[in-house]
């Protein structure tokens, strides 16, 4: 069965004007393209300190065709709460408020403010774009950095803890909508944003975003690596609403371990896993299996 693909603007310049400061192969503008396809210019992005603060380009310019409020590192969800309430108060209901934050600004320093906003169920979408480290400050480890990965603060033996599963934490908040997504699957992201747009209350999207600079891969492979994460079963695409996990189409085949590509396929393209040992790869496999079991239990 072939469904019609949603219309996405394939000319990046319709979304991001000259003057942006993204690295080649950066996942951020890829996602913004999809956001723009869903909301047009009618969105306010609340952006804490992160790569995106740079990517939009310096004052007095602004490369992204959207309204932006740059905010302090720990506060994206809190500021977005205030903006959403003010728009409600003023009767403005055709503008989407989006907190757009990195993994550090979400899983670490912003966690309390995220949790608070989710519990209060403010009406906005929180998108955590996850490049799995503090890239803006030079690739330091975050709570969302995966096990075994090199960063500048896990320089020799790699990270010794697993990734913090923020989507699951958000599910535990009983918010109306949680989803995982990937920059490698723009149509999937598009559909998820469309659904989120129609739901009132707090929506959370955990967006996997491979970063060539921090993960040490050739910038041309951003999409390939994003896809490999899904095809190896390492990154699972799903939605959570009505109290259940709904596995997304792209991830459905990989519920069967036999259909997954070997984890090594994903790791080998990335310099950050260059020194990983076979034992550690086994540990990653165990972790992936554990995640799938959790998903299956909650479907």
């Amino acid at each position: 069965m072939s469904r019609p693909k949603p219309p996405l603007p394939y000319n990046m310049r319709e979304v991001l004007q000259p003057g942006d400061a993204a690295c080649p192969g950066c996942p951020i503008p890829m996602a913004w393209k999809v956001l723009s396809a869903v909301f047009g210019e009618k969105m306010i992005l609340v952006i804490p300190a992160c790569c995106s603060s740079v990517v939009v380009g310096p004052y007095p310019g602004n490369a992204l065709k959207a309204s932006i409020i740059h905010v302090a590192f720990a506060s994206a969800a809190a500021v977005a709460s205030g903006v959403a309430e003010a728009l409600k108060r003023r009767g403005i209901n055709d503008v989407q408020v989006i907190a757009w934050a990195g993994d550090g600004g979400t899983a670490d320093i912003g966690m309390a403010s995220l949790s608070g906003a989710a519990e209060r169920n403010h009406d906005f979408i929180y998108i955590m774009y996850d490049n799995e480290a503090y890239m803006n400050t030079g690739i330091q480890r975050s709570g969302a950095t995966p096990y075994g990965a090199w960063t500048t603060t896990t320089p020799i033996i790699g990270k010794t803890e697993h990734k913090k599963d923020v989507a699951r934490i958000m599910i535990a908040h009983n918010v109306p909508y949680v989803a995982t997504a990937s920059v490698g699957y723009p149509h999937d992201l598009y559909a998820k944003l469309q659904r989120a747009k129609k739901i009132r209350g707090f929506k959370f999207i955990h967006l996997h975003a491979p970063c060539p600079v921090g993960w040490r891969f050739d910038p041309r492979y951003t999409v390939r690596i994003a896809k490999l994460a899904v095809e190896t079963g390492l990154w699972i695409l799903y939605e959570y609403y009505d109290g259940k996990i709904h596995l997304s189409g792209a991830s459905r085949p990989y519920i069967d371990p036999a259909r997954r590509k070997p984890i090594e396929e994903y790791l080998k393209y990335q310099g950050r896993f260059r020194n990983i040992t076979p034992e550690k790869i086994e540990e990653i496999k165990r972790y992936v299996e554990m995640n799938w079991n959790w998903i299956k239990k909650h479907m």
Binding site: I44, I69, A74, A78, G82, E85, R89, G116
Partner: protein
């Protein structure tokens, strides 16, 4: 004449928020600020006040959410104390540098360890360089009036800066006094609709806070400084207008009592200035030529007004309820530097640090300290420049 109620300082803040028709309040509880939040919640839930309350999970988020709501066009208020203010500190800078009108009520409280809920002014002074307009009330009537005035000042196009209104823990926050409430409609008319330099509400594309080069940044900071200078006149103007409309004004940035012919001045800020006034009355009765200069707005610093009264005096004694470790009391430092703008021949200016940690200082003690200062000078001696006044 408006309605008269018996209100604590904290309730005076809550009623001021109602009278100013605040749209959104975001706050987090901390002693002794809590009853502000509780009263506002009650006013909203009982239908007396039409506003949205965001019960955030921390003070950092309290001011962040307040900021967000303000940027999106709402009239906002938050309130805190002590450690709450410390936790918010990042957002004080953020708000002023973004030039967003916000009003914050601060119930001044000592910092820990150890835990101490009584009033010192350390939390207040910790915000000295944030670019906020900083005011300090004497009594609950002034808490109410200054909070309403704060919206007018903050939303003035010549200013567009956040305003902090301080009141001392317990001495005001939990002490009931008769407070006259101005007519709500009249206040609404006077304040007018919310005004701010820009609104981010998605109607037009606007980005605030992008990466900024050094020269642009310096110009923005200079602009903030200019707005703060400009606010000096606005504060006076607002206080005068308020007086005409509602029958009470406070002399602008300072209040000086018994000052016109005084040879000595006692300078202080906050509720204990009331005790100092009592002491000065006693001294006046004994023939001492002294006045009290109460600082009502600490930023912008009212150096012009202080000079106006200090010109020609023999000595000033400045009482500080906090200390800048390794230096002096903050009000003292500013008074000395402020007067130096006008003369190279300063009178004798002494600093007494007292009341820290909430230690009570009575009118009698102010009387002794101030009298001692005058006697020393009159006797041809030089009083010490800085003293800790501490007793058990």
């Amino acid at each position: 004449m408006g309605e008269k109620l018996v209100l604590t300082g904290n309730y005076a803040v809550a009623y001021a928020a109602k009278l100013a028709r605040v749209d959104i309040v975001a706050a987090y509880p901390i002693t002794p600020q809590t009853t502000i939040v509780e009263k506002i919640a009650e006013l909203i839930e009982s239908g007396e006040m039409d506003a949205i309350m965001i019960n955030v999970e921390s003070e950092h988020s309290a001011l962040a959410a307040t900021f967000g709501a303000a940027v999106a066009g709402a009239r906002v208020l938050t309130a805190t104390s002590s450690h709450g203010l410390m936790y918010m500190h990042e957002y004080l800078h953020w708000t002023s540098r973004a030039r967003i009108p916000v009003v914050l009520a601060l119930v001044t409280r000592t910092l820990a360890p150890g835990w101490n809920i009584w009033s010192s002014h350390d939390d207040f002074y910790g915000q000295r360089d944030t670019g906020w307009i900083l005011s300090f009330a004497l009594d609950n009537q002034e808490v109410l009036d200054t909070t309403i005035q704060a919206f007018k000042i903050s939303e003035d196009p010549r200013v567009y800066l956040p305003v902090l209104v301080a009141l001392d823990a317990f001495i005001l926050s939990h002490t009931s006094m008769p407070v006259e409430l101005p007519d709500e409609k009249q206040v609404a008319e006077w304040l007018g609709p919310r005004r701010q330099g820009y609104v981010v509400d998605g109607r037009e594309l606007l980005a605030i806070g992008n990466l900024t080069w050094p020269e642009d940044t310096e110009e923005m900071v200079m602009d903030l400084w200019r707005a703060m200078e400009e606010s000096y006149n606005v504060i006076k103007e607002v206080d005068r207008e308020y007086g005409k409309l509602f029958g009470r004004s406070y002399g602008g940035l300072i209040q000086c009592i018994n000052c016109s012919d005084a040879k000595y001045l006692a300078v202080a800020m906050g509720a204990w200035s009331g005790d100092l006034m009592e002491a000065v009355n006693m001294l006046r009765e004994e023939g001492y030529s002294i006045g009290v200069l109460r600082v009502r707005f600490y930023r912008p610093f009212p150096h012009r007004d202080i000079w106006e009264y200090a010109r020609g005096v023999k000595g000033l004694i400045v009482y500080d309820r906090a200390i800048s470790f390794g230096a002096w009391g903050q009000l003292y430092t500013d008074t000395v530097a402020g007067l130096y703008q006008y003369t190279t021949k300063l009178p004798i200016i002494s600093n007494v640090i007292a009341g820290v940690g909430g230690v009570n200082v009575t009118a009698e003690e102010f009387y002794e300290l101030t009298k001692n200062f005058i006697e020393k000078i009159e006797g041809g001696e030089e009083p010490p420049r800085i003293t800790w006044y501490h007793r058990r």
